[in-house]
């Protein structure tokens, strides 16, 4: 197949075969939905179609993640676009018989807005989607990632063809620079500038790498992009390689994402089969080979030099970046490394042009960003929003507010390297005047933080950072000291152990925090933590160590009272630190239903059926099982 004409011809050929108004069902098969039974649902639908002898006419297509994981497993019936969320296998029969056959909308299956209670038929009018601008994720949930035709029919690879045939490499770099596209990995370094310096660095061969390690816990946008639309990343890398003058690329994927690896591998094979990858792409004379490199399972390998060490078959140990990797990266050759989402944006910029792209987002942060909205929020899922949208819109308008009607306490962005932005409606936060000069983070903690625009500069200013896009909503049941302890515990396990400040610093800070959580905190612990944080942040070799203190510093900054409660009063206001809480049964409310007796793993609960039960504090390991099963709110935790 040769050039753009060949591509367009192929696209037209596929369109002909497709009847635009044929009905077909898109079942979301992202990991989130799969883990809630999407596979069984799809099977049930197919059986139902067979029963109604519709198998030839109506097609069931398993697509990538549509973003609304909370409402999984969900389907969209085309061409009408009817959206049925939270389905069970049993609903398949009704869907086929009523909606498919008789085009009737099943009222009770429709999405009901938890706040307004209104039911919405089409995806578009659900608030979760209204405020979003799904560009990178537009094909997620629309195409079958394993079937290249779906991608081609939606204009796939035409941006690459345009770049290869109609644009010069320098032109492409200029276009990306003008577009203001910045790295989506967390650093936010302008992609264009990076490409330019890599292009100008001397040394052959040059490499392009896609960092699909996505090590940040709680951030799975890279994963759903790889699963849902791998071809967009391949196309982005082809354009990037052509611009920089590289013929060899690697995608470094986490080993814990088997579905992503499989779909990407299939995509590469299909692309090579159709002369869209490999030698002489589209007869353009440009060769580009892409190989998958499964990571060994190390968060540190998210850092560029550690990632390259891992590809080179060495242990994931970062090295000083005084000489940038664009000049001397993989095997000491010029290497350009970008995040999955960054590569996915590239075809958009080339297809619609830099001006179109730079129109989206704020003055300094252009384009959209995919966030993974998780934690104590109603609508957990992947949210792609234009830069500059406010926190309020993301968390409340899209996110549907805090779960279970609780109070919103904090949101954490940037993963372990990020900080916690406080939109404290509980008033527990502290005015900024009395913070001392070497403290980090924003000068002010106004109520209006909730209206903080989400972009690189403002998030960093707020003491956190964009990071890969994890946004973890926390309500008042979350103990901030425990959050800090969790992050440090994670970082102690994931530190490569090469440099002293990171290996020893974080370990000792964790020890202090665990002491505090155990109720053995001492005066001066907080100052010691801050002193240590200062050294760890300044002298650590790589970003892992460098940003590790952020969660601690930002929680201290805004929740010093909670720390002091743990240290002075040996109390955990949020009731999380097990050493400081106690479980007891409110005799008046307890109906003696014996449920908690059966649930307790260490049979710390005694009492006869129908009589009030008692918890023996000695045996109780505070697992909280009794609280879970008690229907009468008799179990009290303070």
């Amino acid at each position: 197949m040769k050039g753009i004409e060949g591509l367009k011809a192929w696209q037209a050929a596929i369109q002909e075969q497709r009847d635009p108004d044929a009905t077909w069902i898109a079942v979301c098969a992202g990991t989130g939905c799969l883990s809630q039974g999407a596979a069984d649902l799809a099977a049930a639908l197919r059986e139902a179609l067979i029963r109604h002898s519709l198998e030839g006419k109506v097609e069931v297509k398993e697509t990538g993640c549509r973003g609304f994981c909370e409402q999984g497993p969900l389907i969209v019936i085309h061409p009408e676009g009817i959206f049925y969320p939270q389905l069970k296998a049993a609903d398949a029969e009704r869907i086929v018989s009523e909606t498919i056959l008789r085009k009737q909308v099943i009222e009770d299956l429709l999405y009901q807005d938890p706040v307004t209670g209104r039911r919405h038929i089409h995806e578009g009018d659900i608030p979760f989607y209204q405020k979003q601008m799904r560009l990178v994720c537009r094909l997620n949930g629309v195409i079958d990632p394993t079937h290249i035709g779906d991608y081609i029919v939606h204009g796939g690879y035409q941006a690459a063809a345009k770049a290869l045939f109609e644009m010069e490499p320098v032109q492409i770099v200029e276009e990306i620079k003008r577009s203001g596209l910045r790295g989506r990995g967390g650093g936010g370094f302008p992609a264009g500038v990076k490409w330019e310096s890599c292009r100008n660095a001397h040394g052959e061969p040059k490499y392009v790498i896609c960092n699909a390690d996505a090590g940040d816990p709680g951030a799975f946008m890279d994963r759903s992009l790889l699963e849902g639309n791998p071809h967009s990343i391949i196309e982005g890398m082809i354009i990037g390689a052509y611009a920089i003058g590289s013929h060899e690329g690697y995608v470094y994927v986490r080993n814990e994402y088997p579905l992503a690896v499989r779909n990407l591998q299939t995509a590469i094979e299909r692309a090579e089969a159709h002369n869209l990858l490999g030698d002489n792409i589209l007869e353009s004379g440009f060769d580009f080979h892409l190989k998958i490199n499964r990571g060994g399972g190390a968060f540190v390998c998210g850092e560029s030099t550690a990632l390259m060490a891992s590809i080179e078959g060495r242990v994931g140990e970062p090295r000083a970046k005084y000489v940038h990797t664009v000049e001397s990266g993989l095997w000491n050759k010029p290497t350009n490394l970008n995040n999955v989402e960054t590569w996915a944006n590239v075809p958009l910029v080339i297809e619609h042009g830099a001006d179109w792209f730079s129109a989206i987002g704020t003055e300094t942060s252009k384009g959209t960003k995919v966030f993974s909205l998780v934690g104590h929020v109603n609508n957990t899922g992947l949210v792609e929003v234009p830069m500059g949208i406010t926190l309020r819109e993301v968390m409340f308008d899209i996110g549907g507010g805090v779960r279970g009607g609780r109070h919103f306490k904090a949101v954490q962005t940037g993963g372990p390297s990020g900080g916690t932005i406080i939109v404290d409606t509980t008033g527990a936060a502290r005015p900024a005047e009395d913070r001392d000069e070497h403290e980090r983070g924003p000068a002010l903690v106004p109520e209006s933080l909730i209206d903080l625009p989400v972009d690189f500069e403002s998030l960093t200013e707020a003491g956190s950072m964009m990071g890969s896009g994890g946004m973890i909503v926390m309500d008042e049941t979350t103990c901030m000291v425990d959050v800090a302890r969790y992050f440090l515990n994670f970082l102690t396990e994931e530190s490569c152990g090469k440099c002293t400040p990171c290996r020893e610093g974080i370990r000792n800070m964790l020890a202090i925090l665990e002491r505090i959580c155990d109720g053995r905190g001492q005066e001066g612990d907080i100052d010691l933590l801050q002193e240590m944080s200062d050294t760890v942040a300044d002298t650590s070799l790589c970003a892992l160590g460098g940003t590790a203190p952020n969660p601690v510093l930002s929680t201290i900054r805004y929740f010093r009272p909670e720390y002091e409660a743990h240290i002075r009063d040996r109390r955990c206001p949020a009731g999380v630190c097990t050493a400081l809480i106690e479980y007891s049964i409110n005799a008046t409310k307890c109906t003696g239903c014996h449920a908690c007796f059966k649930a307790c793993p260490t049979d710390a609960i005694s009492g006869e059926v129908k009589a009030a039960h008692v918890i023996s504090t000695a045996k109780c390991v505070k697992c909280g099982s009794c609280l879970d099963v008690c229907k009468f709110d008799a179990v009290v935790k303070q």
Partner: protein, 592 residues
């Protein structure tokens, strides 16, 4: 050439230098733990972090690997740098035991105790050993294992790695000394080379070696086993190290040769009853000399193998000499050096010394007086050859001692001497390759293997072959004065030959009578020196007088009698025969 300022002082350095090197150039000291000039900068310990201002941005960077760029301002002791440095040392102390290298840093920075307690690790994970093994030596036997706080240096599966070539480089470079060099090659230190600790691959053989220059021992040198290293070549300021050099064999033409190949000492381990090689403290005279010598590893102190000075020493003479089963001759030198040893032991350690001798042969100048001096220094002389050494105690006071059994012929009793150390005086014997050397130089060998002089009285340094001389113990056991005298004699002989200018050739040669030679060429066939050649025109054999050595074999073989030997012609020998048998007068004469 970038110029930068460090602590206010400006300095200009070559391209590619680091801040640390620039600081060294200014004599500013920046502490390092994981850095070594021969290794690539690693940046693990971070103790060398300094404050660097470039343009308006101030950043904390590690000096060991940050390039010295144009126009940067570096502060090596700013409050912020010191604060970080103190915290890092405190963190290290929290992890490791009170290691000297850390204690020194802590004292410099004024830290007495770490707020993070004290750990028990002795390895500060600086990685110097791993990087040396990988980058320098090339054996690649050890590496880092695990991750984060469990990180450790180890060989695969914590077992002995057969990639390790035991070069000891990691031990040498480890700042904390946690790596120890087990004597894994099982070398017996006191006996074989008397060197303690790992054998340097490049070393001066011994103190007074001439030339007093180091040599590379190919078996020990890592380069020859792994193809890497060459550290010595890198650090040598005069580029004198060349690993490509090969042994060269030079062939030189000489007029005269002086063979002075010396002697060997009998292997005492063959005589099982003395337990040499079995018991640690039974050593030979040569080994005692090495031990008591000022340049010995013990610095001349006389110590037993366990490092203690001996309280009692027995010196046994004639081990293998004057002995039918081994060497019948007297080795001539042992008595006197044994006396020297006795004197040394008495003087240096004051230990009880027993000398077991058959006859005290102190025949040299001043020798007898030295023997008398030993007597005065209470050395115990027992006239009787040491017969056996055992560690089997039979009487009290013999536990843990070497018991020397001997017969004291003056007292007429058999005695048992419990001592701490025994010195054997082994017999001198011809070198193992003496026979081969003799054949090469056409030397005769006496039955005991020493080379044969031309005449015991008239030609002690000459040999049967003209122009080849011998001197020293290769001709027979003798001590240093005699050897020196022989050396001088041989040299004098050689010089007399050299300046004579011409060589006297053998007068006794063969000559062929042209008129009677039939050209049968038998003489040519037998001549060992190819002195006889066939003259094609005259069809006769001709003898080249310069080449002919005068053995006369051709004359005996010449069937036509044409070949005759001057001074030993057939007629002359026949006349000798007649003369010898003359009395019986059977002259062949005509009948009356």
């Amino acid at each position: 050439m970038p110029t930068l300022t460090i602590d206010g002082q400006t300095v200009e350095v070559e391209e590619g230098k680091t801040i640390l090197e620039a600081a060294e150039q200014l004599g500013i000291e920046i502490p390092t733990l994981c850095h070594h000039p021969l290794l690539e900068a690693y940046g693990a310990c971070r103790i060398c972090t300094v404050e660097m201002q470039r343009g308006k941005r101030v950043r904390m960077v590690t000096a060991c690997n940050h390039p010295a760029q144009e126009g940067i301002e570096v502060q090596t002791r700013s409050p912020r740098v010191l604060r970080h440095r103190r915290m890092i040392v405190e963190l290290e102390l929290g992890r490791c035991a009170d290691l000297p290298v850390l204690r020194k840093l802590a004292d410099d920075l004024g830290i007495d105790r770490s707020r993070f307690g004290t750990g028990e690790h002795e390895c500060i994970l600086c990685g110097l050993c791993v990087r040396t093994c990988w980058e320098l030596v090339g054996a690649r036997a050890i590496s880092f294992a695990n991750r984060g706080t469990d990180r450790e240096v180890t060989t695969p599966y914590h077992e002995f790695s057969d990639a390790c070539i035991g070069c000891g480089a990691c031990v040498a470079i480890c700042p904390t000394g946690v790596l120890k060099m087990e004597d894994i090659k099982g070398r017996k230190v006191i006996h074989s080379e008397l060197t303690l600790g790992p054998q340097r691959a490049i070393r001066i053989p011994f103190m007074q070696a001439v030339p007093n220059a180091p040599f590379i021992d190919p078996d020990e040198c890592a380069h020859f086993t792994t193809g890497e290293c060459k550290v010595c070549a890198k650090v040598c300021p005069r580029d004198a190290v060349d690993h490509q050099m090969e042994d060269q064999f030079e062939e030189i033409e000489v007029g005269t040769i002086l063979v002075a190949t010396g002697h060997d000492v009998i292997d005492c381990s063959e005589m099982l009853r003395y337990g040499y090689g079995l018991y640690d403290n039974v050593i030979t005279g040569l080994e005692f000399e090495k031990l008591s010598h000022a340049t010995s590893p013990t610095g001349g102190k006389i110590l037993m193998s366990n490092g203690e000075p001996p309280k009692s020493v027995a010196i046994l003479h004639c081990i293998g000499s004057r002995d039918e089963n081994y060497k019948e001759y007297c080795s001539r030198v042992c008595c006197m050096y044994s006396l020297k040893f006795a004197h040394l032991v008495r003087e240096k350690t004051g230990a009880e010394v027993y000398e077991l001798y058959i006859d005290m042969r102190s025949a040299g100048k001043g020798y007898e007086e030295f023997y008398k001096r030993n007597l005065e220094e209470d050395v115990v002389f027992i006239r009787g050859k040491g017969s056996e050494i055992t560690t089997w105690p039979e009487a009290p006071g013999e536990e843990g001692k070497l018991v020397v059994k001997c017969e004291d012929t003056l007292l007429g009793t058999v005695r048992r001497l419990p001592v701490d150390m025994v010195i054997l005086s082994p017999a001198l014997q011809a070198r193992a390759d003496a026979a081969k050397v003799a054949q090469t130089f056409g030397l005769g060998c006496s039955r005991d293997g020493f080379f044969l002089e031309q005449h015991p009285k008239l030609g002690p340094v000459q040999t049967a072959s003209d122009g080849i001389f011998i001197a020293g113990t290769c001709q027979g056991p003798k001590d240093i004065p005699d050897s020196v005298a022989q050396g001088a004699a041989a040299a004098a002989n050689i010089l007399s030959l050299v300046d004579r200018g011409s060589v006297v050739i053998e007068p006794i040669t063969s000559v062929v009578e042209e008129t009677t030679c039939g050209g049968c060429r038998l003489c040519i066939s037998v001549c060992p020196y190819d002195a006889a050649r066939f003259d094609e025109e005259k069809k006769v054999s001709v003898v080249d007088e310069a080449v002919c050595k005068g053995c006369g074999t051709c004359v005996a073989v010449c069937p036509s009698g044409a070949a005759q030997q001057r001074f030993f012609a057939d007629t002359e020998i026949m006349a000798e025969i007649d003369g010898l048998l003359a009395e019986i007068g059977d002259r062949h004469q005509f009948p009356a």
